[in-house]
């Protein structure tokens, strides 16, 4: 549909920057708020705030069009701009489930993301006095690792993810690295957590529970985050170790009590865990009560809303379970419009109505009007 993306053009230095005086002038530009490349998002990268806004609105098709147009009109001048636009384009194609197009986009890059052409120091005219380093957005590395999975090669994706994890641990996190930027170190730690969690997700969807337990426990020993320990509890519940899950949830409660107990998010986490305990004990009434407390504290807690609806169904109240989901979609569509909730609602419609095709069509029409570009309509099973 789009013209094949062109590789980033070789940088062409403007004539003024050849003289040493001009070089000094350029060096001071960074500090001058009026001409600094960091004055605003858009001065740093062409129209970047628009791209970000489109992404937040889920307008992925628009992003693909915009990238194609920017390229064909040669609106991008700096190497890092090309890379950022490429990353947005790649992400959009993956979000839109256009995986072969995404692979084509990725092929325009050098196989080796550590190649010289992605380093600031290779373009001294564009980035004078810039600290050397890679201009590759980290998301691009992640997408490069993830893409084989979308094309059916799960094993290659996992291998790349583990390689990426080692890259972070060996090159970016060791104690005596050259950069002394605290911010940078924090970012890399977050990226490490991000990749580990992606890996665990792969193992979890393959039901390789013991690997998940082992990876989660290693993460928890580094960082006793109540959310992480909750995930451990959910894994235990998923394969049936109810006692183990109960113990994990007790640890979460202790952690939350200790820290900022005023935090609504954490309070709801503890309540939702409690509700799950009631649910597996078949005490659906108490589970519903816990979920209602969550919803009262935070009306957009979609996990509580969804799970409450399921409990109502197990209490033989199919009508109310449908009402709970429908009202959430109406009230807070931007958080409630989620493929899992739609799957549950459609299952309930199929049970409640002999002629469920009509009501599902109504839902589907509403979704088409409201949903972001990446919403997967196959969840309605029409």
């Amino acid at each position: 549909m789009d013209a094949p993306p062109s590789p980033p053009p070789p940088p062409s230095p403007p004539p003024e920057e050849c003289s040493p005086i001009a070089a000094t002038a350029v060096a001071n530009v960074a500090d001058d708020p009026l001409t600094s490349p960091y004055a605003s998002m858009n001065s740093y990268c062409h129209d970047l705030s628009t791209l970000q806004d489109l992404a937040c609105r889920g307008a992925w098709r628009t992003i693909v069009d915009k990238v194609a147009r920017s390229r064909s009109l040669s609106l991008l001048s700096k190497p890092h701009e090309h890379l950022i636009y490429l990353t947005f384009n790649l992400l959009s194609l993956v979000k839109l489930r256009r995986y072969s197009d995404a692979q084509q986009e990725l092929k325009t890059l050098d196989d080796d993301l550590d190649s010289k052409q992605y380093l600031y120091e290779s373009y001294p005219d564009h980035y004078p006095n810039h600290k050397p380093g890679s201009m590759v957005p980290f998301a691009l590395r992640w997408l490069h690792a993830h893409l084989p999975f979308t094309l059916g090669d799960r094993q290659l994706a996992l291998d790349r993810l583990y390689t990426l994890l080692h890259f972070i641990r060996d090159k970016k996190l060791p104690p005596n690295r050259d950069s002394d930027s605290e911010v940078s170190l924090t970012l890399w730690k977050k990226r490490e957590e991000f990749v580990v969690n992606t890996i665990i997700s792969h193992h979890l969807s393959q039901k390789e529970f013991k690997v998940c337990l082992s990876l989660l426990r290693a993460e928890i020993s580094k960082n006793d985050d109540p959310l992480l320990v909750s995930k451990l509890g959910y894994v235990q519940m998923q394969y049936g170790d109810l006692d183990g899950a109960k113990r994990s949830f007790e640890v979460v409660e202790k952690l939350v009590m200790g820290s900022e107990s005023g935090n609504v998010e954490l309070k709801n986490l503890v309540s939702r865990n409690k509700a799950l305990k009631y649910l597996v004990g078949k005490d659906y009434v108490s589970a519903v009560r816990e979920y209602e407390e969550c919803i009262e504290r935070d009306g957009s807690d979609v996990v509580a809303i969804n799970n409450k609806a399921l409990c109502l169904m197990y209490l033989r109240d199919l009508s109310d379970s449908i009402k709970v989901l429908e009202s959430a979609l109406e009230r807070v569509p931007t958080v409630a419009l989620n493929e899992t909730i739609v799957v549950n609602l459609c299952s309930m419609y199929e049970l409640a109505h002999v002629n469920h095709a009509d009501i599902k069509k109504t839902l589907s029409t509403w979704i088409a009007r409201v949903a972001p570009d990446d919403f997967d309509n196959s969840c309605t099973r029409i």
């Binding site: 992404a55 033989r316 899992t340």
Partner: protein, 446 residues
């Protein structure tokens, strides 16, 4: 996954059954939520190493998007794009999903179903008698019957719902039969039967092996998983039969980790892989009877049975018990032969006496007996032979009593030799006992 099964002229009826299997829900896993930290997309990965950039960028980021994710007035789908917490990339928020397919059903599980009877006509139906039954090859089990209290009415477009549960105890074909007897809009009495079929399979097979080592019996049990899910072995217990005591033998768990945070030692869960995974259990059994070994029952002996409880998603339980596990047959010992006295020095070619004790372990009189040393199987002469009459006669031995006697023997070879082949023959019951005792002696040459 919801069904309207066969067996009715659908067009003629105002009512219809909708059925959905209601096993426990699962927790949804999203392998690629595709949510990112803005720093990972907007900026080069090493940009924050540059001090100039690092001083400006946080300002740029905060100016962009500051509204909290749970702000209902925020009409963007940013929660599908921005990472709120690093664990979001796990894609495991604790969201429950209803069962999406009927799935397989196994012996030992509980069949649970949501049944909804819908009135899709424009008229009210009255006096509805609803019945739900499970029919198998062997029996018919009623799960629900409203004959005594019929449902007064179901309005046009209305529904009557119920949930039924049944512990599955038989294998093979099962049919859920739902019937409704009602008066329709024309006050005509109508009968609607609907059938939903399913097959129950065997989830596990248990192979056992019994080994006897002296006074202890060891039982090895191998459990194989034939289902399509991984099975969490919640409890596997051996229930011994009367007079037997059991100890479960477990390997030292090298994976035991003590976590300060988690506050307890973490044990690897026993999870048997789907479609053919196995796990082995070992038990030590001891027979302890108030009457000592004499009361060991002859013939095959029952050791006990294995009770297995497994769980799948969100603790969905299944329970099975094996048949009686049988040990190796024990034949009751009737007589015993003990050596009382053997001379300290035995000289080649010189006769010597060996004192033996014949014990009658039964409660009846045995004998009279004949005792001899049987012919050797080997071609060369036996090393030790009876000196004198080759067969010795012994009288009767009373119940639970014993009789001492002496064998006069002579050794024809020196060195370490065996007195073997001692045969005791019961002349009345015509029984031969020939593996009762073997003795080793040292024969001096002078």
């Amino acid at each position: 996954m919801s069904g309207g099964g066969g067996g009715a002229q659908q067009a003629a009826h105002s009512l219809a059954f909708r059925v959905m299997r209601l096993c426990r829900p699962t927790l949804h896993v999203d392998t690629a939520p595709l949510k990112f930290d803005p720093c990972d997309i907007l900026f080069g990965e090493d940009l924050f190493d540059d001090p100039i950039a690092a001083s400006h960028l946080p300002r740029l980021l905060s100016s962009q998007s500051n509204t909290s994710i749970s702000d209902p007035s925020d009409l963007s789908y940013r929660s599908r794009f921005l990472l709120h917490h690093p664990t979001d990339s796990l894609g495991f928020p604790g969201l429950l999903v209803l069962p999406q397919a009927f799935g397989a059903i196994y012996l030992g599980e509980t069949f649970c179903s949501y049944i909804s009877i819908n009135n899709s006509s424009n008229f009210e139906v009255r006096d509805v008698i609803i019945k739900a039954e499970i029919q198998t090859e062997r029996q018919r089990i009623v799960l629900l019957d409203t004959s005594k209290t019929p449902v007064e009415s179901i309005r046009a477009g209305g529904r009557y719902d119920f949930i039924v549960e049944h512990d599955v105890k038989e294998l093979g074909a099962h049919t859920l039969v739902c019937t409704a007897l009602y008066s329709d809009g024309d006050s005509e009495r109508k009968y609607l039967p609907q059938f939903f079929k399913f097959i129950v399979s065997n989830p596990l097979s248990v192979r056992t092996k019994v080994r006897n080592v002296k006074e202890t019996t060891f039982l090895e049990a191998c459990i194989e998983n034939h289902t399509k899910s991984n099975l969490y072995m919640d409890q596997v217990e051996f229930e011994p039969a009367q007079h037997w005591s059991v100890t479960a033998l477990k390997t030292a768990d090298h994976s035991l980790e003590h976590s300060l945070l988690m506050g307890e030692t973490f044990k690897e869960p026993v999870l048997i892989r789907s479609g053919g995974g196995i796990y082995n259990y070992l038990y030590e059994l001891k027979f302890s009877s108030p009457h000592s070994t004499q009361v060991k029952v002859e013939g095959s002996n029952v050791l006990g049975k294995l009770q297995i409880t497994w769980r799948t998603n969100l603790g969905e339980p299944g329970r099975l018990q094996t048949q009686h596990i049988v040990g190796n047959p024990i034949t009751r010992k009737e007589i015993e032969l003990d050596a009382e006295e053997i001379p300290p020095f035995i000289i080649l070619d010189k006769p010597f006496l060996v004192s033996l004790n014949l014990i009658n372990l039964t409660e009846r009189v045995l004998g009279p007996f004949e005792v001899w040393l049987s012919e050797s199987d080997l071609l060369d002469e036996k090393a030790v032979m009876v000196n004198g009459l080759q067969t010795m006669t012994l009288g009767e031995v009373a119940a639970f009593s014993s009789m001492k006697f002496e064998l006069n023997l002579i050794a024809t070879k020196h060195g370490i030799q065996k007195i073997s082949g001692i045969t005791v023959f019961d002349t009345v019951e015509k029984k031969t006992y020939n593996s009762l005792l073997e003795l080793e002696i040292y024969v001096d040459s002078q």
